[in-house]
């Protein structure tokens, strides 16, 4: 794996767009011809015979999430590090990192680097994928217990048949192949 974008030059943005084009492109063409031919966006459900009106007002959702207070986490990713927070007043540790401590109501945290190794707690293989992940092959998602005192959910880069509870896992922070953006995952630590 290199720290540049992927070999094809494609990032997650265009990979997802291509999948959506494949899934929703044909129905859109059918809707066009339906309106042209019949004057209405209405057809009969071939399975049930029920009359269906196809929504002509498409709704697109792409959220923008504030990571403003997680700037240190974002900087950490850029530098190949995964960061968590620890409350300076009561010592509570947070991953996912958060800047407010509900335990003591303080908002004074120290940013620290997560340890590089942990132990696998549980895992699954995502065989049926959401549309926005279907440019990927089946992927393994696991939960890894870190010596820092919290668990981390992330992909596991391994053959799932070789996985066992308690297995040592090594943390990786890098650009994800096929998506080109920096994230974190685990691989077996040997």
């Amino acid at each position: 794996m290199t720290s540049n974008a992927t070999s094809s030059g494609k990032t997650v943005a265009s990979a997802v767009r291509d999948v959506f084009e494949r899934i929703y492109g044909d129905p859109l063409k059918q809707l066009e011809s339906l309106i042209t031919a019949t004057g209405l966006p209405v057809y009969k459900d071939p399975k049930t015979g029920a009359l269906l009106w196809v929504d002509v007002r498409e709704l697109r959702l792409r959220f923008t999430l504030s990571v403003n207070k997680l700037e240190k986490f974002i900087e950490g990713l850029r530098g190949g590090k995964l960061m968590y927070t620890q409350c300076r007043r009561c010592g509570a540790k947070y991953f996912p990192p958060q800047v407010d401590c509900p335990r003591c109501k303080a908002s004074d945290v120290e940013w620290r680097e997560v340890s590089t190794e942990g132990e696998l707690v549980t895992w699954t293989v995502i065989n049926v994928k959401p549309a926005s992940f279907s440019h990927q092959g089946d992927y393994v998602v696991g939960i890894v217990k870190m010596p820092d005192g919290f668990n981390i959910t992330a992909w596991i880069d391994a053959d799932p048949k070789t996985l066992k509870p308690g297995m040592k896992m090594r943390l990786v922070v890098d650009r994800r192949p096929g998506e080109g953006y920096i994230t974190y995952w685990f691989k077996p630590a040997f």
Partner: protein, 393 residues
Amino acid sequence: MTRKVAVVGVGVSKFGNRTDVSLPELAWEAVKEAFDDARLGPEDVQGFVVGNMGGWSSEALPAVVVGEYCGLVPKSGIRVEAACATGSAAVRTAYHMIASGEADIVMAIGVEKMNESPTPTVVEFIGRAGNYFWEFENFGLTFPGYYALYATAYMQRYGATEEDLCKVAVKNHYYGSLNPKAQFQRAITVEECLNSRYIAWPLKLYDSSPITDGAAAVILASEEAARKITDTPVWIKAIGYANGTANLSKRPDFVGLEAAQVAAKMAYKKAGIDPENPVKHFDVAEVHDCFTIAEIMAYEDLGFAKRGEGYKLIREGQTYIGGVIPVNLDGGLKAKGHPIGATGVSMVAELTKQLRQQAERGRQATIKNGMALAHNVGGTGHYAFVTILGLSP
């Protein structure tokens, strides 16, 4: 001082792929049945609560659309959400409106039209039922995926097998085949289940509840109103409720749902149930089997079996009629279907019918104790409701 609350009318629509009706038309099927059951009309209720998750369906304000269509305006109506436990949240809200003395008769309506969106969109939406950024955006977890994390941990620790999980599906399909309102009306075999494809290893297609359209409605009334309406009120003895962390990574373990354990404890205490041996109090239970592993964990979270021994209950057939506690005699989420917002309401409707001994032939529990339990989980243990119903107040 809270007032006693009874279920006085119930209705459930046919569950399935209901492309033949709109969202309010679907709600009306259940609402009409509930009104007829109680011999009441829209003019008799003082408020209504609509359980609907939405996102995949076109209506942004389902409560007002349903309220208008069902003739409930200008009665006070709201929409509530608690993921897959949305229906129980609607029942709980209606219950408190009456228990507090604010209203005498309130309707809880659960309705969901998941088939208004194509399947990939629905998969996308339910996959976001956790913590969006830390679980979905970067790691693409799906709803079966979340439960699969529990299934892996449970099976590894206690030695349950994929075959044990399939036995839950076989039972629930069997009872679904006897329920004319169930989405799946065909019994299946363990082999068929074992041969179905993986959707989130170790969970397979036949371990999973389907995408469903459906509605359910229950009419709740104060003791005074209930006595006037019906000779067979079914009392809400207790509702326990709790939540779990959004991020699964923050859970203490992956072999049971803490929220369900807390909710059960709360409900048992309120209803005077022995938490060491709850099954002796109940004739029948509805548990949240969105995936087969969820039903097995529910046995343990509810105290029907010891921790790590839930799979033995299904292995021994103890959750069929005639066993220690019959579970999901309407087919459960697995075979009856799981229209998210309607599920919790339909559990209360089903148990009311069971306690009144009005279930179809072959799926009626023997009613001796006159008590029943509904366990409804939202998300992956993000919300949990345990509702206890009884024939005596």
